[in-house]
Subunit: 332 residues, 2 copies
Amino acid sequence: METKLEVTEILKRYSKDIDQEINSALETVDPETLRQASEHLVKAGGKKLRPSLAVLSAEAVGGEVKCALKTGAAVELIHTFSLIHDDIMDQDDKRRGKPSVHILWGEPMAILAGDTLFSKAFASVMKSEDDGVSPERILPALNTVVDSCVKICEGQALDMGFAGRMDVSEEEYLMMIFKKTAALIAAATKSGAILGGGTPEQVEALAEYGRLIGMAFQIQDDYLDVASNEEDLGKPVGSDIVEGKMTLLVVNALSKANDEDRQRLLTILKEEGDTNVPEAVEIMEKYGSIQYAWKVAQEDVNQAKQSLDILDDSPAKDALLRIADFVLERSH
Amino acid sequence: METKLEVTEILKRYSKDIDQEINSALETVDPETLRQASEHLVKAGGKKLRPSLAVLSAEAVGGEVKCALKTGAAVELIHTFSLIHDDIMDQDDKRRGKPSVHILWGEPMAILAGDTLFSKAFASVMKSEDDGVSPERILPALNTVVDSCVKICEGQALDMGFAGRMDVSEEEYLMMIFKKTAALIAAATKSGAILGGGTPEQVEALAEYGRLIGMAFQIQDDYLDVASNEEDLGKPVGSDIVEGKMTLLVVNALSKANDEDRQRLLTILKEEGDTNVPEAVEIMEKYGSIQYAWKVAQEDVNQAKQSLDILDDSPAKDALLRIADFVLERSH
């Protein structure tokens, strides 16, 4: 009987090679302070899910691990860059259980550290030539990655524009999380497939897979904030409500609620403190918004898995299917 | 009799095409606020010297204007990105006579606008494929541009590290301005030469030309701050001294002065206000540091021009020679 693939085991397979690529991308950064500030968050852990997705996508279309390692590392560098700049913009003092880069080195150095990671990411993709990848594959892979960077910026701008607005539509919300979160995951899988030599159909299928698990990942985050417990979450239940954040649950509840419930939910979202979080959850429950978010995430994952139907069976494909399920199994 | 080429005329030749490339790179940015914040500084003027250098370099090796336009635009976008982020880091409220991006839109949106320009710059280089440039040329051109971005970050970090230090060596200072200023100008000329199909020797010559006029440009800025007048400068003479900035003049004077003059100069650099600026200038004059900076800039320009000796004569080569001289003719 086959043992169920553990996602942590899958991610562990490539982590050493990926870490090595990230290290070699950053080790030459000079002066020392800039190097330390740039390395801090990358070395503070993280599952390295995105780079693994790039490598698995390359393998799933018959390519070698090697051809996608430097691009996988690049995607992780871009992810880290966006976290560093987001933490400055959102004035978040902690990340991955450690003080944010701007808390440790100040905002100017944190801005620069982000810019450095960004530059090094593109350099890393281009170095794929050293691994025998042709310019004809590197260029479209890089295009994919660069395009996702534009989207990350646009997604963050959309998210910032939501602050104080209480009439965000579901469509707007989904566009925001697509750009802010899903586009980079889609770039990881799509560029991996390109570098691995996938056919246009395979490349599109893996891009779609990445986009859908990216969407599900964010929506599941929204869901867990209300449906999980403090121990698993590592933070109090309903933090998003306290912060007045737009989530799929909130957007959905606001669109369905009667005037009275709608006004009450808006009031709770705007007020300070967590006293009325249970009441907000009750309103979302009343209109089926918690269940709705869970269902949307579930459907995204199912569609993500279906999009891989056109691929031949392989251990890499199995791993990708497993990762899709894992997105929903998370409790934090 | 031939009229002396006017640099403003040279720059005007390509400005329409360059502006069009920049516009088309940014016009799709969404949401609107992000697009406006991203466009603000690019549209606030600027001589567009860097893109013109890219195009002239392509022409000087026998290439067409078209092949380097999108990369020239990219270099201008990167230049603008670095100005926006630098203004946040240095808390500069004005740029090109207008309020800085972070003054108009706030720091978070200014960080994002910079990141957006950065992303769009790389996208622009890659779109050179639409102009018939092969991936084999685009990739090394992009590599050159990306490498200069890493250097810009490192140069800014070095510059920040100089604050409060009074023992900066000439070598350290020259490395800083190479990375912060000259590397991007060298990237413009080098990538232009690559895209225009230059031989490795031609590419190296144009890279060297760009590096040297970039160095001269910054050193001339240092020189003019003391040697020019308020009317031409558009700001009071000796602003660098008031700000306590490291310049080639200061670094040189500190290395040559006797203990007494050295201490006095350090005191003036550290103190607020402009009362003792004339005394600082006197000390720099006493040790020949003003003349020294002018000489270094002069030599850099001469070497820059010599490095073009290997190119066949052409209007583009003439224009590059003319621009090199122009670096020293500026009075502001």
